[in-house]
Symmetry: C2
Subunit: 208 residues, 2 copies
């Protein structure tokens, strides 16, 4: 890395520390940075430190947001969204994916992960306690009519879903618990789809 | 992008403006940044602005470096490297690639691009004038014994090579001009190599 001098070497190392960026990409990015107008570089650096500094977790649903409460939960307060329907997702990107459909008018709860004994992530490492506190409400009355569990359909996502069901049942909360459907994706070629998915698609068939 | 709040939205946009980073990668990077310790984020931001601020072009060979003159040219001055053998490369990464071989002890000249009428890059947009000035020397005496043209073997690289030859001939500089060999790469499967490369490999055959 000395071929380029110390400051570019440091920048290449900094880029390499980010996920999904190898040596070649880090070099390409570093050379792009030094060819950019200085103000633009300062802009990117500022966006980085500001985002890290400003980031908050919505005190209601735990998604990342700028303020105390996220726009979706604020919509729940003002009656624009049904705050008694709570979709539990693994992270804010999953929330965004559902928001993009524009077909969901409930609110969310972001776990920031899934239970994974392999990676050493236990129930206390994700925002499960916050979910239970939220469901129980400040006066002990259940705050929701339905909890839609939308964790991934991976091993971790499924076990997290099971765990949430168990917790809600233990607390005897009078709430409907649902799980998003698992099956053949739209546009998917049946011949290329794995057996587990096909089995689920069959099991979850609906009458026409 | 509003799903995450304005500061994360800005960070995602900032990452998206970099080459080879699409929406999904930008999101992944942004979420990685906000999960990092604040000091590490400041470190990356600083590496960026410092690299941009500190970057200089070696006043001799035009490569990017921290000081006035790059370590390779400094080696030429102190006699460790043969400064009368100049390898012309398109960019500093190509210089680094040759340095990594450890088998070249001459010096370099970095053009920072190649002539490309398609992209609107003419001879004045790359460091050709600097090369000619360097070859002619301050007292008009030729400063090199050999110019090795190591531009890419793309259309742009080849035309740039031709152009350099023409310039040197026009100036009637008493210097040997060579071009790096083009042929079958080591480990390459002949059946998978394109015809132009095979033709060149044949044309450039050497006696054993």
């Amino acid at each position: 890395m000395d071929y380029y001098g110390a400051s570019i070497g440091r920048l290449i190392e900094a880029f390499r520390s980010l996920p999904g960026i190898g040596t070649k990409s880090a070099q390409r990015l570093a050379f792009h940075i030094i060819s950019m107008p200085e103000d633009d570089v300062k802009g990117i650096a500022k966006a980085m430190t500001e985002a890290r500094h400003n980031v908050h977790f919505c005190k209601c649903c735990c998604t990342v947001t700028d303020g105390e409460i996220c726009p979706i939960c604020a919509g729940g307060e003002s009656g624009k969204r049904n705050k008694r329907q709570i979709m539990v997702v693994e992270n804010s990107r999953d929330l965004a994916a559902y928001e993009k459909t524009g077909r969901y008018d409930g609110v969310y709860h972001v776990l920031h992960g899934a239970i994974s004994p392999m990676l050493g992530i236990g129930p206390n490492d994700i925002r499960l306690r916050e979910l239970m506190m939220r469901l129980q409400g400040p006066d002990g009355e259940c705050t929701a009519d339905e909890v839609i569990i939308a964790t991934n359909s991976s091993v971790e996502g499924e076990s997290t879903a099971m765990y949430i069901v168990k917790l809600i049942r233990t607390l005897e909360l009078p709430v409907k618990i649902t799980r998003i459907a698992s099956g053949v994706p739209v546009g998917g070629d049946i011949e290329n789809i794995d057996e587990v998915t096909l089995e689920r698609a069959l099991k979850g068939r609906t009458e026409l």
